[in-house]
């Protein structure tokens, strides 16, 4: 079992949590930002309203929050500001009856401070903080900016240059007004209540977000656990299979899902693995079986010979027996090695252009004495055929087929070896007049160690691998080998090779 923090489930949880966190934080931040700008907007509007009121009730015209000009306040207009005289009253004055606007309230208080041209405070509300620096005309370059840049663009053009943009001073939000005569006023508001509101909101978001995060992680964890459980099942089964119980299969519960498909694919793989292992085991068992008999012959012969003093003729006989057995073992081992190399793909056929008919003729001549010994007639019909092939291997195919045809023949029988071109293929047929092969044996005849007649093998030095080797070689050359047989009349082996 791998460590928990390395598991897919854990990683899924972490990523899921991180994404959820980012989404929640982004959502919270956006919400806070909206609330904050809404707060500031409201405060700024309130500040402007109060400043306008202070400046004589020249309230904004039109727009939301418009209110009628205060009838109690003096008119303040550009002409009045421009023609400022000593007999005129101060430019900023709080109209009577509007004190309530600058009193303490739950929503936080607004304040104002008015300075004359010399910078002396001429009026201030009770709510004003102790230190409000008088605004300096130079500090507000935006007051000279074109109107288009002014926020709250609904101010009439004549008020241009009067009301500054909102400014922030720490927790204070202020708006500065300047009369043409040099009088200055600041209307301000402590943002403390808004900040508190925002903090409450952030805490609320934090709690709600934490809850959502926790819930999301729990649900996500449950869900990922659910969707990952099949993987755990698969790996559990795979472990059992790795442990040796090859017949185990994954229970494909959810066949339609990707995991169901994975399970099916794995099951197919296990199936093939199992049959390959079984085939391999059978092959190994067969091979060891074939090796055991000659080993036993040598062992028992030697033990028996050594049991007591023997005559030299008896020793000679014992050695002859051992020699025969050892030769059979050698032949078997060579065949096994050939097949093992072919299985491992180690000996890809070396392609050399060769006259197949000459090779066949060679092989037939080599085996003619054996045929004569058994009274078998060899008929040969070889068309001239040029083929790119591995000469050594092709000779082995020819030798195996022809010697089989001779040995599994009836006495005084016939063997026909024919070589011909057919279309783009080369066709080699080797036909005998032997006992033939039973129909139930035909499909297995090219299997390793398969013998139609179980008796022939050990007695006559056959390994049971000859046809399997032929099959492997022909397949390696891109061809195929087939057999047809009529029991009692004979068998015909056909090798088809592409030129």
């Amino acid at each position: 079992m791998s460590k928990f923090y390395q598991s897919i489930r854990w990683r899924m949880q972490v990523w899921h949590g991180l994404v959820l966190l980012v989404v929640l934080v982004a959502f919270g931040a956006t919400a806070c930002w909206f609330v904050r700008s809404e707060q500031l907007n409201r405060v700024d509007q309130e500040l402007r309203r109060r400043l306008v009121l202070l400046a004589g009730g020249a309230g904004p015209r039109g727009g939301p929050g418009a209110r009628p000009p205060n009838p109690g306040g003096p008119e303040l207009n550009p002409e009045a500001g421009a023609g400022r005289g000593p007999n005129r009253g101060p430019a900023f004055r709080l109209p009577a009856g509007q004190r309530g606007l600058f009193e303490e309230s739950e929503r936080g208080s607004y304040y104002f401070v008015v300075w004359d041209a010399e910078g002396k405070v001429t009026a201030r509300s009770d709510t004003a903080p102790a230190m409000v620096p008088p605004p300096h005309p130079g500090d507000f370059p935006e007051l000279a900016l074109p109107r288009a840049r002014l926020r709250g663009g609904e101010l009439p053009p004549e008020e241009r240059g009067r009301f500054g943009l909102p400014r922030g001073r720490g927790d204070l939000r202020e708006r500065v007004g300047m009369a043409p005569g040099g009088e200055r006023a600041v209307v301000g508001h402590s943002l403390e209540p808004e900040n508190a509101e925002l903090r409450r909101l952030i805490v609320l978001f934090g709690i709600a977000g934490g809850g959502v995060l926790l819930l999301g992680l729990l649900v996500g964890g449950w869900f990922s656990g659910r969707s990952i459980r099949p993987i755990a099942d698969i790996s559990h089964t795979a472990r059992k299979i790795a442990g040796g119980s090859l017949s185990e299969r994954i229970d494909v519960a959810d066949a339609e899902s990707e995991l169901g498909e994975l399970a099916r694919t794995l099951n197919d793989t296990f199936e093939r693995l199992q049959s390959a292992v079984a085939r391999q085991a059978r092959f190994t068992a067969d091979a060891s079986h074939e090796l055991r008999t000659p080993t036993f012959v040598i062992l028992s012969e030697a033990q028996s010979a050594l049991k007591r003093e023997r005559s030299s003729a008896e020793y000679r006989e014992a050695f002859a027996v051992c020699q025969r057995a050892a030769q059979q073992m050698r032949q078997l081992i060579e065949s096994l090695l050939t097949l093992a190399r072919q299985d491992a793909g180690e000996i890809a056929p070396k392609r050399e252009s060769a006259r197949l008919d000459a090779m066949a003729d060679d092989v037939v001549e080599m085996l003619r004495p054996l045929a004569r010994e058994k009274g078998i007639t060899l008929h040969v019909a070889l068309a001239a055929v040029q083929l790119a092939c591995d000469i050594q291997q092709m000779r082995q195919v020819l030798t195996n087929l022809v010697s089989n045809a001779i040995e599994y023949n009836r006495p005084e029988g016939e063997v026909r070896v024919k070589l011909a071109s057919e279309g783009r293929d080369v066709l080699l047929t080797v036909a005998d007049t032997g006992v033939g092969i039973a129909a139930e044996d035909l499909p297995h005849i090219f299997e390793r160690f398969y013998r139609a007649d179980k008796s022939r093998a050990t007695a006559e030095g056959h390994t049971g691998l000859g046809l399997a080797i032929c099959d492997a070689i022909v397949k390696a050359h891109g061809g195929r080998i087939e057999v047809s047989s009529t029991p009692g009349q004979g068998s015909t082996f056909t090798v088809r090779l592409p030129v």
Binding site: H289, E290, R292, F296, S300, E301, S304, A325, K454
Partner: protein, 216 residues
Amino acid sequence: MRILVVEDQPDLLRNLARTLREEGYAVDTAADGKDGLTKAQDNDYDALVLDVMMPKLDGWEVLKRLRTTKKTPVLMLTARDAVPDRIRGLDGGADDYLTKPCDLDELLARLRALIRRSAGQAKPLLEIGGVVIDQAAKTVLLDGKPVALTAREYAMVEFLALRRGEVVSRTELYEHLMDENDDTLSNLLDVHVFNIRKKLGQGFIVTRRGQGYCIE
């Protein structure tokens, strides 16, 4: 003791037969299952050495058919050593199972054990009065001193001793002591009995006239 060896590998068959003969057994041979079954059914062998992979009839089939009529102890000899194969052999009526290649000495020891058990004996030493028969060493002691017996004399003593108290007919004796190729006349048995009495005491083998011989 007469043993049938059924084995299709000619070199092996010859060697097994020779080895067993040298051990004092009467040995018949069969080179395939069919021949083996016929011989096993026609004779009362003391043991059967049976190969599994054989032409015509394999060892399993021979065993199956033989068991319908005979209780002959059977030792299966095969190159197949997978556990299911052994179980199949033993459950199929085999009395013992040996995988090739095995040691000849082990094969001989197992055969001795098979023959001993089938005669209802568990001890390898048979004591009859002052005579002690060591079946493993194939020797006979009289009052603690070894007695020189020929192989056939020993075989006769052992055969009768394993059936102590039973009367063994001349035919039975002849069948268990001579193999199929032995055309010795049956009155040779009298010569053996005479020699054994000379070596182990006149009363060792009792003649029951008209019935046979007996060790009491």
